[in-house]
Amino acid sequence: MARIGVFICHCGENISATVDVEKVARLAGKLSGVAYSVDYKYMCSDPGQTLIVDAIKEHKLTGIVVGACSPRMHEGTFRKAAEKAGINPYFCEMANIREHCSWVHPKSDETTRKALDIVRTMVEKVKNDTALFPIKVPVTKTALVIGGGIAGIQAALDIANAGHQVIMVEKTPSIGGHMSQLSETFPTLDCSQCILTPRMVEVAQHPNITLHTFAEVENVSGFIGNFDVNIRLKAKSVDFSKCTGCGSCWQKCPAKKIPDEFNAGMSFRTAIYTPFPQAVPNKPVIDRANCTWFTKGGKCGICAKICPTGAIDYTVQDEIINVKVGAIVTATGFDIKHSDFFPEYGYGKHPDIIDGLQFERLASASGPTGGEIRRPSDGKVPETVVFLACAGSRDKAKGIEYCSKICCMYTAKHAMLYKHKNHHGKAHVFYMDIRSAGKSYDEFVRRAIEEDDVNYIRGRVSRIYEKNGKLMVVGVDTLLNAKPVTIEADMVVLATAVIANEDAESVAQKLHISYDKHKFFAEAHPKLKPVETNTAGITLAGACQSAKDIPETVAQASAAAAKTIILFSGSEMTREPVVATVNRSAAPVFTTCTGCFLCQEVCPYQAIEREEIRDRAGNLLMNAAKVNAGLCQGCGTCVAMCRNKSIDLQGFSNQQMLSEVMGLLNAPFE
């Protein structure tokens, strides 16, 4: 005989403001099977939980329903309380009357009625709950870090230093990411590569880190603690065990006109190349799509002839390796919109209208101009440079309504770098707002304005066109009563939007993690779980989640590492027992399963096995399905597939779901 306890939470005013919680508690007490019903201000608080524990003991409750926030918030909290009181935690269900009711409806009888409906639904479910016991699974204490930028590097080092193995996968030939392309970083104007390269070397030399560059994740299966990952090691065409990094090959490569990705397309590289001098590993790979040997059927082959150690191998193919990991850190980074996206700024027609990353390369001592700011068109030093902040971000019409966060700071930085290198030049910045909220950030922008004489104009630019060799930048000064301003510039730098990588969607789908409409990966909770995803065991670090600067990226990467280290801290992991089971009973029935194995076909985790059912003499009677509880993730697709309902999902059984529907729609009273 069920004795259910109903506990309705006010949640301060969050629920009680629109739902009559006393009435809900009172009416819930009259439901069949409910032995005790009460309301309280803060159920999740210590006194609230004590209230529940005491009530369970005093009224000998067999199950509880807590009408409060979403189970995604506090199901764990209340299940622990139930356990403390001595009942199986799976006899505790939450009725979501906050996110799904009080927060989305106005104060009314209808809202209260809805809250009661939701509570009643869950009471019916609890009446059909069964005791479930956690499943223990082993944890593979190896982490996979996808992405070798500063986020991935930080996370990998933290996890490795904690004593665990790390496998890092980076799709370009070198780790370092966008940070390696920067010249100086704000707000200190530290040389970016100087602070980054020691970390890169540390990763390469760390005994606990296995680094795979020029590699991509092919697919991921399994679940937290037990992921099975296939990694494609793309064919480098260079045997790293023989290559010494001498550089003879790329010095002699005749294919010299390939746009250099590292220099943001402003210079050329060869087909066999290292992306930049401080690359880690500092050994070249062949870009087969642009290599004469591969595109013209065996012609050329100079690098192979010239290599002193015979390290070039044109025949090697991609290799797929399989690794088992317990946790995955996603640190795949970002991209930026390029200037051909802007129709009003000329559809990318003019070479002297560049984006922020291209300016970084100009300013960088290792860049195409050796650190001198020169126009890409004719190599002359520009006398007037105009910087456009918010070029494309915060603009619904362009489909990018968010703020890209880093541009106000790097625009100020760019203007300052230009002025430091050209004292007599004129720098103008067209801005909407100045977002410089970090530590020492606002002082940095003030420095640009007050010390380096950068002219900040509050207004947007409507058009840029070329006239008599100058770029006419047509904008407005809103602080001077919307006065139209036209500046004749020699170079224009657009602070374009930070966007997700082109392959972000496919990476997310491989990992089964959520992403938003801009293809940034979704965190589990915007406030309280900024590094976890909805997929247990997979964390996020860096700009793949949303635009952010380096200090935030490093902080988030360490957070992701911490979550991973927590996972690895025990010898095994307890799993939620929401798994499927195929019924079994005594002879002569044994099971109602007919052995059709439709369930096995649809299971995404290969968790269904064939079990041979034999009689006492050992004769084979039939093959029936059996669930491997360690692999089953509890999706229940098999349950819906089963033609005669022989397989059921614990925690969401057929009886439970039916009783929810029946309980919802058959109100005993209005």
């Binding site: 989305v104 789908q509 979704a522 909805n534 229940g636 969401f652 529907v661 919802l664």
Partner: protein, 157 residues
């Protein structure tokens, strides 16, 4: 003067996407029609469509089935099975003369709180326009119960 009819909408949603999307609508305080009640499933793949019939039988006027977008299922493929199941089931229901425009099949991700609210509002409006679902309840089962099933089975042996 009869009260304006307010439809009862039951939503069968998956825990990882739509339920979370509804949570997000809540966290964002997006307001929407009060007519919907959510039943939580781990995955849309778990939804046995006979439960939809049970819901109609017991007073639901409209139903929403919603899960993760194709390719985004938390369990990889559950939503594909749900989609295929729905296509076959819908054909069957159409053949039976069942008003399938009372069932809305959708995808709402965990980031789409606004979409959830819009979905609820649109479904509520369209089901309200269709009126209460009385046909099922008006089916006369007494005739069925008076048929001599045993006799028919005997004769055919």
């Amino acid at each position: 003067m009869a009260e304006t009819f307010e439809p009862k909408i039951v939503a069968f949603v998956c825990n990882w996407c739509t339920y979370a999307g509804a949570d997000l609508a809540g966290t964002s305080r997006t307001k929407y029609a009060t007519n919907v009640r959510i039943i939580r499933f781990p995955c849309t793949g778990r939804i046995d469509f006979m439960l939809l019939i049970k819901a109609f039988q017991n007073g639901a006027d409209g139903i929403i089935v919603s899960g993760c977008h194709p390719n985004d299922c938390h369990y990889t493929s559950g939503n594909f099975h749900a989609r295929r199941r729905w296509m076959v089931f819908k054909s069957l229901l159409d053949f039976m003369g069942f008003p399938t425009d009372r069932i809305t099949f959708s995808w709402v991700s965990a980031a789409e709180g606004k979409k959830w609210a819009e979905l609820v509002n649109e479904t509520t409006d369209s089901v309200r326009a269709l009126g209460p679902f009385t046909e099922y309840k008006n089916l006369d089962f007494t005739q069925f119960n008076q048929i001599d099933h045993e006799g028919i089975a005997e004769k055919s042996r």
